[in-house]
C-alpha cells in the first residue's frame, strides 16, 4: 500500500514537472523603452510613436495597418480590421469600410461595425457615455477631418469627413479598436458611490488601462504603473502570419540611455531602443545586434517667412541647404543618421522630381550667397531656436553646433537659442511672428513624415498658420493651397500619390526648410531575438519575432 502511495506520488510529481516544463520554458522578450512611463494601454497610446509601437500595435488593431514587412520598401498601408474601403463617388466625404469577419476581442466579444462607431465616438463625441477626453489629444489631430461613423450592417461601416479627404485610410491606422463590451463591464463595476457619469467613465477607462481588451496579437497581462507592462500572446489572433510565438513581452521604461545600455549588457533586457551612441561598439562586441533603417523622420531647420526674415531670399535658403556637410555630420553621429534629399526620399511614392538637388556643394552655396549680396566681411545673421534634448531631436546641441560651423563657411553667422524641449515644442505652435520666437528666424523641431498631413501639408498651407497648426514659418501661397487641395481630392491611390509627389517637388524647390538629417532609429537586440524586420517606418512588428532559449 505504502509502495503504491510512493509510486503514485512519484508519478504525480513527474506529471507536475512535465506540466510545469512549458511554463519554465516560457519565451519572454523584455524591452527597454526610451519612454519615462508605460505608454497608455487603453487603446490610444501617448508617448508619441513609441506608444503606438509598444502598447498600440501589439495589443490593438486598426481598420488599416502599416505594412511593416519590408526593410527595403517604404511602408504603405494594408488591410487591418477592414478588408477593403472605398469613397462614395457621389459624396466624397463618405467612405465605406468593409470589416473582417470572425474577429473577436480578447474578452471574447465579436468585432462589429458598432464597435467601430463606439471607438470613433470615444474621441469625437463629447456626449457619448464613454467619451475619453485624455485620449482625444493623441487621436483627433491624427485624423483631422474625421467627423462621425455609422454602422450600415454588422460588417460595414460608413465614415464621414468634414471635407473630401483622400488621406483618411492612412489616418485610420491611428485609431485603435478597444472592446466596448469589456469597457461596459468595467463601467458597471465602478463603485456605486461614484454617481457622476463622467467620473464613472473616467474610472472605467482607468480600470481598462489595467485590464485592456483589443483584438491584437498580444493581450495585456500585468501593469505596474511607471515600471512594467506585460503582455501575453493571443493564440486566437485572426492573422496566422502574425500569431506570436513569443509567450510574453515585458515593457520597461528606461529613459536614461546609459541605464538602457547597462540593462542590455547585464542581460536584464533583450532589446533597447536608442542605445547610447558611444556604447554601440561595446554592445556589438558582446554579441548583440544593432538594427537601423532611415525612418520617415526629418531633422530640419524650419525657416521663417515673416517680414524681415533673412530667409525670404530663395538663394539664401538654397545656399544653406548646399552648405551642410551631412556626410561629416553622419560620421560625427557614429554613422547613425540618414542623409536627406527632401522630406521624403527618392523612391518614395511622394518623392516627385525636384529640380533642386540637396547636396554638399559649398562653392555653389558661396556663389549664391555672393549673388544675394553676402560675403565673409558681410555675413548674414540668422538665429535658430532649438532644444537641449527631446523626443526625436537626436543630439540637438551637438548637431546644431556642427551646422553652425558648417554654415560659417558660406557667410552665415548663426546664433543658437537653446531652450528646454517642452518650451520649444510649445513655441512651435505659436509661430515665427510670436514673441516666443525671441527673434529667431528658424526653429529646429524634428517631425514624422508618416502621413501627408504630418509630412507636408501642415508646413505649407495657408490654412495651417499658427496657432492653427505647425506652419511656424508662415510659408504658404495659392499655388501650394491648390496642390494640397488636389492631393486631398485625388481618391485613387496612384492619383493621390502623384499629387503628393507634385507637392513634394515644389516644397523641395522652394526650400522652406534646411533639411539636415533623418533619424535611423537604432535599436539594439540580444542575438537570441530572431526574425526581426526593421522597416522604413517608426513602427516595428513584434508579433512575428522569435526568442531563442
Amino acid at each position: 500500500m505504502r509502495n503504491t502511495v510512493y509510486r503514485s506520488s512519484a508519478i504525480a510529481l513527474a506529471a507536475a514537472m512535465l506540466a510545469a516544463g512549458p511554463a519554465l520554458a516560457e519565451k519572454t522578450l523584455t524591452i527597454g523603452m526610451t519612454a519615462a512611463d508605460i505608454p497608455r494601454t487603453s487603446g490610444q497610446p501617448d508617448q508619441g510613436f513609441e506608444g503606438n509601437r509598444f502598447t498600440g500595435i501589439p495589443m490593438y488593431d486598426a481598420l488599416t495597418h502599416w505594412d511593416l514587412s519590408s526593410e527595403t520598401k517604404p511602408s504603405g498601408i494594408v488591410p487591418g480590421l477592414a478588408t477593403s474601403w472605398a469613397v462614395n463617388p457621389d459624396d466624397t466625404t463618405k467612405w465605406t469600410f468593409t470589416l473582417r469577419e470572425g474577429v473577436t476581442f480578447h474578452d471574447g466579444a465579436p468585432f462589429t461595425a458598432e464597435a467601430v462607431v463606439w471607438n470613433v465616438q470615444k474621441v469625437l463625441d463629447e456626449n457619448a457615455p464613454h467619451f475619453a477626453p485624455d485620449q482625444v489629444g493623441a487621436t483627433k489631430s491624427r485624423m483631422p477631418t474625421l467627423a462621425s461613423a455609422r454602422a450600415i450592417d454588422d460588417l460595414t461601416v460608413e465614415l464621414t469627413t468634414t471635407q473630401p479627404d483622400s488621406f483618411l485610410p492612412l489616418n485610420m491606422t491611428m485609431l485603435f479598436m478597444a472592446s466596448p463590451t469589456h469597457w461596459q463591464s468595467l463601467y458597471d463595476a465602478v463603485d456605486a458611490s461614484i454617481t457622476d457619469p463622467k467620473e464613472r467613465a473616467a474610472a472605467a477607462w482607468t480600470a481598462f488601462a489595467f485590464d485592456p481588451s483589443g483584438t491584437g496579437p498580444f493581450e495585456g497581462d500585468l501593469f505596474v504603473p511607471r515600471e512594467r507592462f506585460e503582455m501575453v500572446k493571443n493564440e486566437n489572433y485572426w492573422d496566422p502570419a502574425r500569431t506570436p510565438t513569443i509567450d510574453r513581452v515585458v515593457l520597461v521604461p528606461l529613459p536614461d540611455a546609459n541605464a538602457r545600455t547597462a540593462a542590455l549588457l547585464s542581460g536584464q533586457v533583450d532589446w533597447i531602443e536608442a542605445p547610447a551612441p558611444d556604447a554601440i561598439p561595446r554592445i556589438q562586441a558582446e554579441g548583440n545586434v544593432i538594427y537601423s533603417n532611415p525612418q520617415p523622420h526629418v531633422w530640419p531647420w524650419q525657416l521663417s517667412f515673416h517680414e524681415g526674415s533673412p530667409w525670404l531670399d530663395k538663394r539664401v535658403r538654397h545656399a544653406a541647404n548646399l552648405c551642410v556637410n551631412r556626410e561629416e555630420l553622419q560620421v560625427l553621429l557614429g554613422g547613425y543618421m540618414g542623409i536627406p534629399k527632401g522630406s521624403v526620399e527618392p523612391g518614395h511614392p511622394w518623392w516627385g522630381n525636384p529640380s533642386f538637388d540637396i547636396r554638399y556643394d559649398p562653392d555653389t552655396a558661396r556663389a549664391l550667397m555672393a549673388e544675394a549680396g553676402f560675403s565673409a566681411e558681410n555675413p548674414i545673421k540668422v538665429k535658430v531656436q532649438t532644444s537641449a534634448s527631446g523626443s526625436g531631436q537626436m543630439q540637438p546641441v551637438t548637431m546644431n553646433e556642427y551646422v553652425q560651423q558648417s554654415l560659417a563657411d558660406c557667410f552665415f553667422d548663426v546664433e543658437l537659442d537653446v531652450l528646454e524641449w517642452n518650451t520649444v515644442f510649445t513655441n512651435w505652435r505659436k509661430g515665427a511672428a510670436d514673441e516666443s520666437a525671441r527673434g529667431a528666424n528658424a526653429i529646429n523641431v524634428s517631425f514624422a513624415t508618416m502621413d501627408p498631413f504630418f509630412a507636408m501639408v501642415r508646413f505649407v498651407s495657408t490654412q495651417t498658420f499658427p496657432p492653427v497648426s505647425n506652419n511656424w514659418g508662415l510659408f504658404g501661397n495659392a499655388e501650394f493651397d491648390a496642390l494640397i487641395a488636389d492631393a486631398r481630392t485625388s481618391f485613387a491611390d496612384a492619383d493621390r500619390d502623384a499629387a503628393l509627389a507634385r507637392l513634394h517637388t515644389r516644397i523641395v524647390e522652394e526650400a522652406p526648410f534646411v533639411w539636415i538629417a533623418h533619424d535611423v532609429g537604432p535599436r539594439a537586440m540580444s542575438a537570441k531575438v530572431g526574425n526581426v524586420t526593421q522597416p522604413k517606418n517608426w513602427f516595428i512588428d513584434i508579433a512575428p519575432m522569435t526568442v531563442e532559449e
Binding site: A36, G137, P144, V224, R226, A259, A262, F425
Partner: protein
Amino acid sequence: MLSFILRRVFYTVPIMLGVSLVCFALVHISPGDPLVSILPPDASVELQEQMMAIYGFDRSYPEQFLRWLGLALQGDLGNSIATGRPVASEVFNAVGNTLILAVTATIIGFTLGGLFGFVAGYFRDSWIDKLATAISVIGVSVPHYWLGMVMVIIFSVELRWLPATGAGPGGSSQWVWDWEHMQYLILPAVTMSVIPMGIVARTVRALVADILQQEFVSGLRAKGLLDRGVLAHVIKNAAPTALAVMGLQLGYLLGGSILIETVFSWPGTGFLLGQAIFQRDLPLLQGTILVLAMFFVVLNLLVDVAQTSLDPRLQRG
C-alpha cells in the same frame, strides 16, 4: 513640553499653507503648456480650448488654487493628466518605494558616517582621522550620478552580480524583503548613502573634536571618570546637533533623488518628480511637491521635538 509641542504644531499650519501656495505658483509660472503631454504639436486652437476647459485650466489662478487646495485637504490630489490615474495613489506608492530606499540608505549612511566621524574626532590628527576624513570628503564630493553609473558598470555589466535597474523582478508592487528583491536595492541604496555618510561624518567629527576640548571634559576626567563615561557625555552633547543634521539629511533622502532613481529606474518620488516635470503634468507635479514639502515640515517638527527633549534649554526659545 506639551505647550512647546502644541506651539510648534500650530506654527506648521501657516507654513503648510505657504508651501501649498508656493508649489502651486511655481508650477504655474514655469513656461510650457500644461496639456503638452496629451495634446499633439499641431493641436487646433479649438482642441486646445476644449481640453483646457475639460481640465479646468481655463479658470482664474485663484479659482484653480482654491479648488485644488479644497480637494487636497480632503486627500484628493486630482488625477494625473498624462496617465489619468489618481495623483494621491501615484505619490503614495512612490513614497513607499522611496522609503524602502531612503531607510536603507539612512541606515548605511548614518551608521558609517557616525562611526567614521566619531573615530576621526576622538583620534584627531591621527592617521585614523585622516583616513576617515578622506573617506567622508570623497563621499561628499563624488557626484551621485557618476558613482551610480560606475557601480552599475562594475557590479552589473562587468561582474553581473547585481541587477542594473528596477525594483524587483516583478516591479515594486510585488516587493518583499528577500534576496531576490533586495539585490535590486543594494546599488541604489549604497549610492544614495554616500553623501549623508560624508556629511554626518564631517559633522560628528567636528562636534566630537570640539567637545573633547571643552573644560567640562577635563573636569570629568579630573573627577576620575573612565573613558567610557566621558564618551557617554560626549555623545549626549553631540547628539542634538548631529540629530538636526541627520534629520535634514533624512528629509533630503525621503524627497528621493531624481538622479539616482533615474539611473536605477527606482520608482520613487524623485523618479516621479522627474517624470512630472518632463511631462508638464501639473497635478502630479503639485501633488508630489506638496507631499514632499509636508515631509520636510513634519520631519523638522519631529527633529525639533527630539532636540528639545535632549536639550531642555531649547524650550526657552
